[in-house]
């Protein structure tokens, strides 16, 4: 029952007035960001990153996590009421959610989404509570070869399995790694690729690149096409669900929760894939598959549970191994390293207050989101009526002042603008951004682990394959790398996973 002691420590931290305020702020802002079409959790966290610098790391992470899982709830509102996915993980919710809204059942669709999200979110946090400590303990025995193998797996999975083209994913990952090489060599302190610029001696800033790619890139994407959005109305009274709705949703919620959690733990997969799989599974298991797409409540409950369950799952590799499996968790890892905190197994022993405070806050946040997304939906809908003509420049100037506020550097602003343009064009051409950010964050530690390993083996690369743990991981890496060829030649109907996966 050691975890109960850990949890009680966590709740004592998470229930402090300051942290409660940040949980509330995180879930409200997350729901708003999720509800706004075009801005997903990764862009939302990247844009707001500069704001968290003055805070202590626990409060900052509580806020960012609140935004992360709040986004999953918020995305539903736009999917159901407007048939526009708030972010990529709610695409499947549009299908039956909007069909329900057209039948005058928007309220039950939103309520069951909130209930499913709450059940799934809470389940994934319980699993995080139970599984994270033993995984962290096992990872304590890992040496540089195992860490190198894990980082390569994370990068390979995110590059090779997301987006429409594997080559584009790998190209972005290699570009991210190249950017991570700028600055002082980690072993010899030789300056590399800094073009004699003193500011670049510290490396290319993570913040201007993340805010540029996701923040400015999103703003440019928002204004290049005129969105005509019609929001369906819903009132508090219409949110009430029937016993039949609950009965019809119980098993889809349970199955979606398990699928979402398992997919969330895997590197490279994430909320979007989880919701697609959960929807497909429900349709396959249903006695009336022909009703899917016509406004069936199981078609809303399953994907919504899955995308929320994936968030807790995604926190497991991030917190226990320090390996993010998606763009959003990569941005969170980048933020943590800026606080001089290194996620990984030692985090659980060195900073238990941080880890358990964060986990406890996720329990609280999920309860808050259940209330917010049933009782306050009309308030969030009102925000959707803010015109993009005002919102886009406001987000742009927020990015500018946010990036400037960290180093007071005009060079950072130019970097942000340049990467904003790159992010915009990359989105247009389906070049996934997550591998670039992940590689930028992991590039430094990956180089150190690789060079330490090769020093141990006197430059013999077989060290990565002969040690049991790193050997197994490298075998998975090879399998992931070969997967596109298998898919092309043996599985003709493999689905394309959306590039917007975050």
């Amino acid at each position: 029952m050691e975890f109960l002691d850990h949890l009680s420590l966590g709740f004592s931290i998470a229930l402090s007035p300051v942290n409660l305020l940040f949980v509330t702020l995180g879930v409200v802002v997350g729901t708003l960001i999720g509800a706004l079409p075009g801005i997903g959790p990764v862009a939302g966290i990247a844009i707001l990153l500069p704001l968290v610098f003055g805070m202590n790391p626990i409060s900052a992470m509580i806020l960012m996590c609140g935004i992360y899982y709040g986004c999953m709830y918020g995305g539903t509102i736009t999917s159901v009421l407007m048939n526009v996915p708030g972010e990529s993980s709610t695409i499947m919710t549009c299908v039956d959610g909007y069909a329900m809204a057209r039948k005058g059942r928007a309220g039950p669709a939103l309520t069951i989404s909130a209930i499913g999200s709450f059940v799934a979110g809470t389940f994934s946090v319980v699993m995080l509570t139970l599984l994270a400590p033993p995984i962290a303990e096992a990872a304590l025995s890992f040496g540089p070869p195992e860490y190198f193998a894990l980082m390569v797996l994370g990068l390979t999975a995110v590059s090779g399995l997301t987006g429409s083209s594997t080559a584009k994913g790998y190209a972005m990952a290699f570009i991210g790694l190249a950017l991570a090489m700028v600055g002082l060599d980690p072993m010899t302190a030789d300056p590399r690729f800094n073009f004699q610029n003193l500011e670049l001696m510290d490396g290319v800033g993570f913040l201007p690149i993340a805010v540029g790619l996701f923040g400015i890139g999103t703003v440019l994407g928002m204004i290049d096409e005129t969105l005509h959005m019609e929001v369906m109305k819903t009132t508090l009274r219409e949110m009430i669900i029937t016993k039949k709705d609950l009965k019809d949703s119980a098993m889809p919620i349970a199955r979606g929760t398990i699928i979402g959690f398992v997919i969330g733990v895997l590197p490279g997969a994430g909320a979007t894939i989880a919701s697609f799989l959960a929807y497909a599974t429900e349709k396959r298991l249903s006695k009336t598959p022909e009703l899917f797409g016509t406004g069936i409540i199981a078609g809303v409950a399953a994907p919504e549970s899955a995308n929320n369950a994936s968030t807790g799952g995604a926190m497991i590799p991030l917190l226990t191994l320090g390996i993010p499996g998606s763009g959003t968790t990569a941005v969170m890892l980048g933020a943590l390293t800026l606080f001089s905190l290194q996620p990984g197994p030692l985090l659980f022993t060195k900073n238990p207050d941080f880890v358990w405070g964060l986990i406890a806050s996720m329990y609280i946040g999920n309860v808050m989101l259940l209330v917010l997304n049933t009782a306050f939906v009309p308030a969030f809908v009102a925000v959707l009526r803010v015109p993009y003509t005002v919102l886009a420049p406001l987000i742009a100037i927020f990015c500018v002042v946010g990036v400037y506020s960290v180093n007071y550097s005009v060079l950072d602003l130019w970097l942000m603008l340049g990467f904003g343009l790159i992010g915009y064009l990359a989105n247009k051409l389906d070049y996934p951004l997550a591998p670039l950010v992940l590689a930028l964050v992991l590039g430094g530690p990956l180089e150190v682990a690789m060079r330490q390993s090769l020093k141990m083996s006197q430059t013999d690369p077989s060290i990565f394959f002969v040690r049991p743990v790193s050997g197994v991981i490298m075998a998975i890496v090879i399998a992931v790398m070969l997967w596109p060829l298998v898919r092309r030649y043996f599985i003709k109907t493999a689905p394309i996973i959306p590039a917007a996966e975050a």
Binding site: A167, A171, D185, M187, I223, V401, L413, M450, K455
Partner: protein, 153 residues
């Protein structure tokens, strides 16, 4: 052949070539163990290989964007305007100060994006600048450039 895809692949290839040129300036091995040029060299090979695959795939038509949504001319104009306005804002930030630059940026942008209500045009830019100044300069104590408005404490 998809022109935009080929151009993107060529840019990847060019970036890889520049990383290769930079990597060759550092020792690959140092006293028998990997040196500062070791990983950059491997990375440059990775970028160059990806670039070659992207270009050949684009020419053959095997690599193409699913449902490309390129903006219409008006959309490109708005994107160009945003980039130009941000460039101007960065150049004028130190000279005019945060409050004036933000007010001007917001005013110009929302007008050019189609807002014609004088009430909105008169209030939103000023209120946005004040709100952001309150959050960053007052709450977070960020020394935002004051420019010509030096009387603000």
């Amino acid at each position: 052949m998809h022109k935009a895809e080929v151009v993107a692949g060529a840019l990847v290839l060019a970036f890889g070539a520049s990383v290769l040129a930079g990597a060759l300036q550092f020792p690959f091995l140092l006293e028998g163990v990997p040196g500062p040029g070791f990983l950059p060299l491997l990375i440059s090979f990775g970028i160059l290989s990806s670039g070659v695959v992207l270009i050949t795939g684009s020419i053959r038509g095997t690599i193409k964007t699913e449902n490309p949504r390129w903006a219409a001319l008006a959309g490109w104009r708005r994107v160009g305007l945003m980039l130009a306005s941000m460039t101007a804002a960065f150049l004028l930030l130190e000279l005019l100060g945060f409050l004036i630059v933000t007010t001007l940026f917001m005013g110009v942008m929302i007008f050019c994006l189609g807002v014609r209500s004088w009430r909105v045009l008169a209030t939103v830019p000023v209120l946005s600048a004040i709100a952001l100044y309150a959050v960053f300069a007052v709450w977070l104590r960020v020394p935002l450039p004051k420019g010509i408005i030096t009387f603000i404490g």
